[in-house]
Amino acid sequence: MSLITIVQESALQTTAQGGAFDPESTQQLFANTFTGDAARALAPMVSLTVGILVLLVCELFEGLKKIRPAVFLGAILASAWGCWGLWQHTPEIGAPVRVLGGTLLVSQQVGVWGMVFLAATLVAWMQARKYYRQEAPFLGEHDVLMLTAPIGMMMMAGAQDLITFFIGLELLSIPLYCLAAFRRVRNDSVEAGLKYFVLGAFGVAMFLYGAGLLYTATGTMSLPELRQVGEALESPLARTGIALMLGSLFFKASIFPFHLWVPDVYQGSPTPVTSLMATGTKAAAFAFLLEAAFLVPVSAATLIGVLAVLTLAVGNFGALMQKDLKRMLAWSGIAHAGTLLFTVAASAASDGLLSAEATQAAVLYMAAYVFTAGGAFALLSWLEADGEHHTTIDGLRGLGQRRPGMAAGMTLFLLSLGGIPATGGFIGKFFVFGAAVQADMIALSIAGILLSVVALGYYLRVVIAMWMQPAKDGQAPPMAERPWAAACVGFCAAMVVAIGVLPGFLSGSTLFP
């Protein structure tokens, strides 16, 4: 029973009683809706919302501007605490708990996804410190927008209802449209924002139209009820709706053939924002894709698997062509989305039997990817600290002699992106392809693994440029000291190694006991 139905019934009851307001039934309604579980599910989002409000108040008073970083970090920590509670204290035995009239899921997965989103936000925010020059007066707005996005991601991950998901999607997208165009005196930033906005709005419209068709065909927008409608999901109308919705989600997750916006938008946006888009948005889209994988008919699972391989191929070969490291990371992000799509294919192919394994693999992959790609982008934003791009691969030549620490960090991140053992990237790939093999998608998995090897080609090219090729005369870019960015890189590197060498720390059966 959805929240709307409850409200509707209570309204009808009131009308039946001659329109008299009945405090007792209203109280009952509230008591049934806002339970302790609901409070636990909402705690991470409410902490972030409080953080946003405090930040906005800080903007008003000159003296309070100094405490902005503390407020931001406090909100993230409080929210992470809430997510930790969801992860550690939700019993996985028994029926899944849904709160607020069945619109929001309370589960360990939601808690872990929440922490992944918060990590992505934290990494993006840390590298944004002292990144902006001309835009520095607007940093308050920047922080507020950046804190809004994870609320939307959490809503997407926990949504059990298409309405909730849609609101989450917009809560994530709209701040990112603004952030992408944040450096509005620069042509490339404005262009990235506009491209992202126009195509994003198109994707949302496609999702809504698909949801409308699905709703007309089945009579419900709630995921648990959609699981039960059975044959109504197989009508042509419902199938069309599902296809449109998947297309829109593939757009957000940058899956072939909806990936063309990615390189332009990633290159033009400010690097910290690119980091948030590449890690957070992708994680949120996949969190919901896995939750809604049951909508995909089993017969279409192979198609999804083929799309995954195509995405991997397109991303990898696109990255091979690039001379700019930021753009190369964008193409490599497409390839990583292709790898992640294997989890959705595995879940759909097994008719939901493998959905727990698939979700776990995706969470692990994203947890590693947040720190790997986030760390690489943090290094990039450190390199372009003086406001200009020094991110061509040629510009990185000789970095190993000039700044061995930075070069070592970048090497670690690139090896992890390539999936070398003892890094987090390897663990993620291992679990993802493990789930795909369990779902009997052997041929597609082999193709995927071979394509992942191709990826090493362009990652190693950068490593060689950094360590073995001397800088061309006069091409060594200037360096700025950026303690926040350095801390961010160190944090990411530590997490990549931790996830890589301590698989039991985050993985195996301990993730969702």
Binding site: Q8, R184, L194, F197
Partner: protein, 113 residues
């Protein structure tokens, strides 16, 4: 029902297709934004038609509020999107004195910003 659900869905499909076609054909950003609005309203029509259809299937005197509630949310979000979109268009106009999509050429494969 005096107007069958099919007719409403066909109308909404036509509106949606006009929106999609315009989105890909037109080059003026304001017109592109209008096309997106048209697509959103086609979706709204589908939601309302679905709500009526499902209420009718459920029997006499039944209502299905899920669709109309989604429509309210969509209208609100469409307003937000229009605000952000127009702000971005103004930002572009300030830089290029034009709102033509063909002006967006800074970022391409091989370009070094």
């Amino acid at each position: 029902m005096s107007v069958p659900t099919e007719h409403l869905l066909i109308l909404s499909a036509i509106l949606f297709s006009i929106g999609v076609a315009g989105f890909f054909i037109r080059r003026n950003l304001i017109v592109v934004l209008m096309c997106i609005e048209l697509m959103l309203n086609a979706a709204n029509l589908a939601f309302v038609a679905g709500s009526r259809h499902n209420a009718f299937l459920a029997g006499q005197d039944q209502t299905d509020l899920e669709g109309p509630i989604m429509v309210t949310f969509v209208i609100v979000v469409a307003a937000v999107e229009a605000a952000v979109g127009l702000a971005l268009v103004i930002a572009l106009y300030r830089r290029k004195q034009s709102v033509d999509l063909r002006e967006l050429t800074e970022l391409e494969d091989g370009s070094h910003a």
